[in-house]
């Protein structure tokens, strides 16, 4: 990247914020707050201690729901990928569940777990579980047969084959799936918090509107969600730079 190109992303953001400010100041009496008001809103949240509390609350729910999904989806996906019969039996259920938005589960989550953290975590768990399982399953199917044959040739037992060939072979694809699933989890936590709990960034947005039409805080919540989402994605992208998975991506050469 040349020196000038390096500034393009920052310029793009500055331009968008400028247009936003311009639009707001040109239309008097609008309900949409400008960037200055939103920045002040974020400052107000920070001073009250709500900023850290809400961000931590949202990240906490995502972390546990997502980790639980990883723990179940990866072994399940690998098992289904290796077992033709298992896949034939379970794949139709996975396919039917997949198009159901995780948000459709909100009433059931509340019925089972009540209003609170567990409901939100359950929704995140559900939202991440299916894409992760399907990714792991497909990744197992895509393993180069030569690598499996080589593993068997060297006398590996079944568990050794999973550990030494199958897991490393699917890892590059799995990491991409994990990135996508984390993105979905982050989308879902906001929605879950609007209904099932009384803290977090999703709650901030509904609460700011209900308690006095504080649209500066509504947009502040949106900005925070966007920025943290980018941060989570950047974190996952770092996994793609690991030496033992870089072979799996097109730019690896």
């Amino acid at each position: 990247m040349s020196q000038t190109h390096r500034w393009l992303p920052a310029t793009g953001i500055a331009l968008a914020v400028g247009l936003w400010q311009l639009g707001v100041s040109m239309s008097a009496g609008t309900l949409v707050p400008g960037p200055v008001a939103v920045a002040k809103g974020i400052g107000e949240l920070a001073v009250k201690g709500l900023l850290v509390r809400y961000v931590v609350a949202s990240l906490f729910r995502v972390t546990w729901g997502y980790l639980a999904a990883l723990l179940i989806a990866i072994p399940l996906g690998i098992a289904l990928g290796l077992s033709r019969r298992g896949e034939m039996a379970l794949n139709p259920i996975l396919q039917v569940l997949r198009p159901i938005s995780p948000l459709a589960w909100i009433p059931i989550a509340i019925l089972w777990f009540g209003v609170g953290d567990v409901s939100a975590m359950f929704l995140i768990f559900l939202a991440s579980l299916l894409p992760l399982t399907v990714t792991a399953l497909h990744a197992v199917h895509n393993i180069d047969a030569v690598h499996l044959s080589a593993g068997l040739n060297f006398g590996l037992s079944r568990p050794q084959l999973v550990r030494s060939v199958i897991v490393p072979a699917i890892l590059p694809q799995l990491i991409v799936g994990m990135r996508i699933a984390l993105g979905i989890a982050w989308l879902v936590v906001v929605a879950a918090e609007m209904i099932a709990v009384n803290s977090g960034l999703g709650f901030l947005i509904v609460d700011a509107r209900n308690a006095g039409n504080r649209y500066d805080l509504v947009v502040a919540g949106m900005v925070l969600i966007g920025v943290i989402g980018v941060g989570l994605d950047a974190l996952m992208r770092r996994l793609e730079r690991l030496d033992s998975v870089r072979w799996g991506y097109a730019d690896a050469a």
Binding site: D144, V146, H147, S149, A150, L152, N153, F154, G155, L156, Q160, S164, V165, P168, A169, L171, D243, S244, V245, R246, W247, G248, A252, A253
Partner: protein, 246 residues
């Protein structure tokens, strides 16, 4: 001399396609045998059968008088260069089959084979950082490291450029002379088979049967312009029915 590998009446059909027909072959201990045939004739199928990856429709293969029932670390299959594990370093690949050894033995074994195939200095490199020829040498090293008594090579140099291919053949002969393995080498390249083999098994088109077995009684290193070399080569061209002209 003792017979190492015996193919007895091997037949193979996939669905309604006959691929192999009554293949009978004995391979001596320490011999380098090339199985030569046109692409798609079934010679790789034959190698996969002796490797234990496929069951023949009828007939059996024995090694040291034991029937082959599956893949076995005493006999290692070398694929084209893509058989190396891309997620492991050179060291990791060579050490892959050594999980039963102690760490010290493993390190010594890895160091020895890194040297044997000329990859010193690349121990920590990943396959994506190596050339095609280096990856192929790495795969040979990984196979040799477990000290197998038979090596199966399935068109191992097919994806390499012609200069690298010649170098690899010389390397293979050097390693073969140092390690005294029995080698079954599948190729569609007539010149390659005459350069390498003690005996060449010439296969027909599908369904493949053995047309002829050619003894190559030329000592190594072989002079590619010697009359005897050309004579053997041309007799195989004639056998396959190719005029030796382009």
């Amino acid at each position: 001399m003792t017979m190492k590998v015996r193919f007895r009446d091997i037949n193979m059909t996939f669905g309604s396609t006959r691929v192999l027909e009554d293949v009978n072959l004995d391979v001596r201990e320490g011999e380098l045998v090339c199985i030569l045939g046109p692409s798609g004739c079934g010679k790789s199928t034959l190698l996969n059968i002796v490797g234990g990856f496929l069951q023949p429709t009828s007939g059996k293969v024995t090694i040291d008088d034991e029937p082959v029932t599956g893949p076995d670390p005493r006999r290692i299959f070398v694929f084209q260069e893509r058989g190396v594990f891309p997620w492991l370093t050179v060291e990791g690949n060579i050490g892959f089959g050594l999980h039963r050894l102690s760490d010290a033995e493993k390190r010594a074994r890895i160091a020895h084979y890194v040297g044997l195939v000329g990859l010193r200095g690349f121990e920590q490199s990943y396959p994506r950082e190596l050339s095609g020829g280096m990856k192929q040498r790495l795969e040979v090293a990984r196979a040799l490291a477990v000290d197998p008594d038979v090596l199966y090579l399935d068109e191992p140099f097919g994806a390499l450029d012609s200069i690298t291919r010649l170098q690899m053949r010389r390397e293979l002969l050097r390693i073969w002379e140092a390690e005294k393995k029995t080698i079954l080498f599948v190729t569609h390249d007539i010149e390659e088979s005459v350069q390498l083999a003690d005996r060449i098994v010439v296969m027909s088109t599908r369904p493949a049967h053995i047309r002829r077995i050619v003894e190559v009684d030329i000592p190594h290193p072989r002079d590619l312009s010697a009359p005897r070399y050309i004579e053997v080569r041309d007799s195989i061209f004639a056998e396959i029915g190719l005029a030796h002209q382009v």
